[in-house]
């Protein structure tokens, strides 16, 4: 018997007992949907929890402060920094060249006056109280955080609305949740400020302005469009801008008299964000940076602990789904055993006209594979739909709490595993009935009727 004939026989058998076949497929689909939705939910939850722990940055991120290490607290996740120490270009390149370092992103923090432009929210913003849009835009002293946004993924930054500033944009910034709070907005209303403007002024001290020895403070003001809102832990400031913008502001302040009065140290960079090439590399990289002479912090212990807990939860969820799938496989075995009983005469005729044992076995295994494939495909689609529906509810809750939502894509690996697993289980479940049908003697099969 050719493969094509075996397929036709199997398909005809499914068609002839369509009700039973559909019920069997439904059982597999439900089990596969349960397995895939649990695995997807577990994966998304894992990613979200670890993202929260690492504050939006990479799990292997290490913060390097412009300070010497505290020798008494090297083994902790966040040791108190020691005495201030400059991070210059030499230190930057030394750290970049350390083994097991994937990337190093410098950050500059600069003191500024921040002045929200009128209007503080977009005219078409929805759900913003009138008291917010009509109030006097605030002016306050804060800091602007400059970072090389080519490596934004390597920084502890989570986008809440809009987008990040373009890498070299001279007039684009993102603001943090702190800015929203100053306007009286919540992070749920983040979108309302996207498209508005701010002005920020960098201070500089002049002496002998009028030849009288009096010191005068001058601001260098810049205007920028707010293109996004972020939750960020890269630096203690409400405004996030491309590095070049902040360096220009910093150069202005440094050109004046005694910039240390504005809290500006001699360090070219306020901090570095180092990404190690794996979780196992975080400790050795931190030790190497400590040897170079800088204080580091990284939530490595916390991440390792959370990963262990999440792994246990994933195993439990996967186990529940697998049990459901095994029960569904037993359903396939049961359905095929019933089919063997009902089709003894057909098997006998097949053997009488020259059909071999392996032809009969192949026919039943193909029928099992068909049911498994169909159930797996439908189940994977249903699982994805269930996971997305659940994500919708979760996102609504997270947004109410002021957190970024979760994103359920199409996890190809889980979909492939669900379909593949369903097929394999169906084949395993179909082996016994197929074997029994194959070994049935032709005479006995015919005579029983």
């Amino acid at each position: 018997m050719r493969w094509r004939d075996a397929w036709l026989f199997a398909a005809r058998s499914v068609r002839r007992r369509i009700g039973r076949a559909l019920l069997t497929v439904l059982a597999i689909a439900l089990a596969a949907a349960l397995l895939s939705s649990l695995l997807i939910a577990g994966g998304v939850a894992r990613e979200r929890v670890l993202n929260e722990v690492s504050r939006g940055g990479p799990l292997t991120g290490i913060r390097v402060d412009a300070a010497a290490p505290d020798p008494g607290a090297l083994d902790t996740d966040a040791p108190p920094p020691g005495a201030p120490k400059s991070i210059d270009e030499t230190a930057l390149s030394t750290i970049r060249e350390l083994p097991r370092v994937r990337s190093v992103t410098p950050v500059v923090l600069h003191p500024v006056w921040v002045m929200a432009a009128d209007p503080v929210v977009r005219a078409d913003a929805i759900g913003v109280p009138a008291s917010v849009s009509t109030r006097e835009p605030p002016i306050y002293r804060d800091a602007i955080v400059g970072a090389d946004l080519r490596h934004a993924n390597d920084l502890p930054i989570t986008l809440l609305a809009g987008r990040l500033p373009a890498i070299d944009a001279p007039d684009e910034v993102a603001v943090s949740v702190g800015y929203l709070r100053r306007l009286g907005l919540t992070s749920k209303q983040a979108d309302a400020v996207v498209g508005t403007e701010i002005e920020y002024g960098s201070p500089r001290l002049f002496t002998n302005d009028g030849g009288n020895g009096i010191e005068t403070l001058r601001g260098r003001w810049a205007r920028a469009e707010i293109v996004g809102v972020v939750a960020q832990d890269a630096g203690n400031g409400d405004v996030l801008a491309p590095l070049a913008q902040v360096q220009a502001a910093r150069d202005w302040t440094l050109s004046g008299v005694d910039p240390s009065r504005f809290g500006i140290g001699v360090s070219a960079y306020s901090a570095l964000f180092v990404v190690a090439d794996g979780l196992d590399s975080v400790t050795p990289v931190r030790q190497a940076i400590t040897r170079v002479g800088y204080s580091t912090s990284a939530p490595e212990s916390l991440i390792a602990q959370v990963e262990r807990y999440v792994r246990v939860v994933e195993i439990v969820l996967g186990g529940i789904g697998t049990i459901a799938l095994v029960i569904a496989a037993l359903g396939i075995a049961n359905a095929l055993l019933a089919a063997v009983r009902e089709r003894r005469r057909e098997i006998g005729v097949l053997k009488a006209i020259g059909g071999r044992d392996r032809d009969v076995r192949r026919m039943f295994l193909l029928e099992a594979a068909m049911l498994g494939t169909l159930g797996g495909v439908v189940g994977a689609a249903a699982g994805l739909a269930i996971a997305r529906t659940l994500a919708g509810f979760v996102n609504r809750y997270l947004e109410q709490q002021g957190y970024a939502g979760v994103n359920v894509g199409v996890p190809a690996l889980i979909v492939a595993l669900t379909i593949g697993g369903s097929v394999v289980l169906a084949l395993v479940a179909g082996t016994l009935p197929a074997q029994r049908a194959a070994r049935l003697p032709a005479r006995r099969a015919m005579g029983d009727r």
Binding site: G19, E199, D209, G210, R220, R223, V227, A382, I386
Partner: protein, 222 residues
Amino acid sequence: MRARRAVVAFVVAVFGAFGVAACSGSDDRQSPASSSADNATRPFTLVALGDEATSLLQSESSIRQSWAQQFFLRGVPRSTSFVNLAQQSSTVAAARGAQLAVVRQVRPRVVVVLLGLDDVRAGERIGMFTDEYSGLLADLKAAGVDRILVATLPVAAGAVAPYNAAIRAEARRAGAVVVDLATRSVGGSVDARFGVFVPDADGQRTIADAFVAAYRGAFPDA
């Protein structure tokens, strides 16, 4: 047969449900891309020179009221940076000494000037005032400033007519743009602390409007 159809219908309905679930600017603003390109080729800095009428440094909240800050906000492209060098009790001669030193460091493309009110208060001789104003504009030119806007003095500030005539003449000679405040009603009063005319919030807005209109008129590319 009927039972079989019912089972088929039920299964199809369940699958169907799963299937459904599964399928379930204003003219002074430029686009970020174009402003980035402009800035990459020509860094643009604006500087304001002035006295009490321009400095307004009594409090942080008054920064927003300053006509120079308003001009920065409404008159020039967003990628411009702005430095206000205005200083209290600053005659034209004093500004040449103190404020111009910073202009040379900053190397601005645009300078807006509202000076002369302290000269009026001090009763500076017109000849001296004219010389100093002429020197100021020449110094600005020498510092590489290619867009200079100078304002005449509001009539509410006192006997300003001869000073304004000098400002107009020197501006014409230097190729600077004249922003005529003498023909506008600039709200304000003589500040008791400085003894000089200081525009109020409405006056600051009027001055800013005049500068914006003059700038756009003289430099349509802005």
